[in-house]
C-alpha cells in the first residue's frame, strides 16, 4: 500500500514508538507493526534488524539478553532517553508534514 520510500522514512519513528510502549524484541516489533497498521505496512522482517542496529549504534536504544518461553536466547531492546527525545522530534516533524499536506489539500 505504501511506497518503499515512505516505509523507509517512517520506520525509525515507528520502531521508537513501539519501544516507547515497553521493551520488546524483533519478532514482537514486527507483529506490533502488522497489528497497528492492519497489515497496510508490509515490512519484510529482515528490514527491521538494520534499523535496530543503527538505532543502537546511535545510542537511541539499548539491548539486553533474555530468553523466550521455550528457553531460546532472545535479545530485547529498550528505548533510552536520547531515543525518546529523537522520537518526540520525529513526531513533531511528521505532524508538521501532515499539517502542510492538509493545508495544501484544503486550498
Amino acid at each position: 500500500m505504501f511506497t518503499k520510500d515512505l516505509i523507509a522514512a517512517s520506520a525509525t519513528p515507528i520502531v521508537l514508538s513501539i519501544l516507547s510502549e515497553g521493551d520488546s524484541y524483533g519478532y514482537a516489533i514486527i507483529e506490533r507493526v502488522r497489528q497497528c497498521s492492519d497489515g497496510d505496512l508490509s515490512w519484510k522482517d529482515g528490514m527491521l534488524y538494520p534499523i535496530l542496529y543503527r538505532l543502537e549504534k546511535k545510542e537511541l536504544i539499548e539491548s539486553y539478553a533474555g530468553s523466550s518461553d521455550a528457553g531460546r536466547k532472545r535479545k530485547y531492546y529498550r528505548i533510552l532517553n536520547e531515543g525518546r527525545q529523537a522520537l518526540e522530534t520525529q513526531r513533531a516533524h511528521w505532524r508538521r508534514l501532515n499539517q502542510i499536506i492538509n493545508q495544501l489539500e484544503a486550498v
Partner: protein, 165 residues
C-alpha cells in the same frame, strides 16, 4: 526437543550459513542468536497452524526477505582485519556474487602478472619500480569496484573514529 524442532533448528542453521556466509561465523553469537530466534518464532507460528518444518522455514525465509542488508550491517560490526579476511575469501557481506567472480578473476590476473613480472625482471635493476607500478595499477583497478570503494570508505571512517578525528 522434538524431531520437528530439531529439524527446524537445522534448517535455520543452514539458512544462516547460506545467507550470512563468513560474516555469520564471525559476528557475535548474540547477533546470530537474535536472527535465529526471529526465524524460529515465525516458523513455529506456521508449525502451530499445521505446516511442516520445511514449509514453515520456507515461509520464514520469504517473510525475512533479502538478507543482504542485515549481512552488510553485521559485517560493519566486524573488526577491520576480520572483515578484510572475509572479503579475501569472497564471502563478505558487501560483495555480491557477480563482484565475487570479478574479485576472484582479478586476484588471479594479479597473481599471474606478479609472477610473470618477477620472472621478467629477475635480472633487472628496476624490479622494485616494476613491482610498484603493478601494485599501483592493481589498487586503481580494484578501487573502481563499488564494493571495494565502500569497504575502503568504511575502513577510513573506522580509522578516523579510532584516531579520534
Amino acid at each position: 526437543m522434538s524431531a520437528s524442532n530439531q529439524h527446524l533448528n537445522e534448517l535455520i542453521d543452514r539458512w544462516c550459513e547460506e545467507h550470512l556466509g563468513a560474516v555469520g561465523s564471525s559476528v557475535s553469537e548474540e547477533r546470530l542468536d537474535e536472527l535465529k530466534d526471529h526465524l524460529a518464532c515465525v516458523a513455529e507460528a506456521q508449525i502451530e497452524q499445521g505446516a511442516t518444518a520445511g514449509d514453515a522455514m520456507a515461509y520464514a525465509a520469504e517473510q525475512f526477505g533479502d538478507a543482504r542488508e542485515v549481512r552488510d550491517q553485521l559485517a560493519s560490526t566486524l573488526p577491520v582485519f576480520r572483515r578484510w579476511l572475509a572479503r579475501i575469501h569472497c564471502k563478505s557481506a558487501s560483495v555480491s556474487p557477480p563482484q565475487e567472480k570479478k574479485t576472484v578473476l582479478m586476484s588471479l590476473v594479479f597473481a599471474a602478472v606478479l609472477l610473470i613480472s618477477a620472472w621478467l625482471a629477475k635480472d633487472s635493476q628496476s624490479h622494485a619500480f616494476i613491482s610498484t607500478v603493478i601494485i599501483a595499477v592493481w589498487v586503481v583497478l580494484t578501487s573502481r569496484q563499488g564494493g571495494t570503494r565502500e569497504a575502503a570508505r568504511a575502513e577510513w571512517r573506522w580509522l578516523k573514529r579510532k584516531l579520534g578525528f
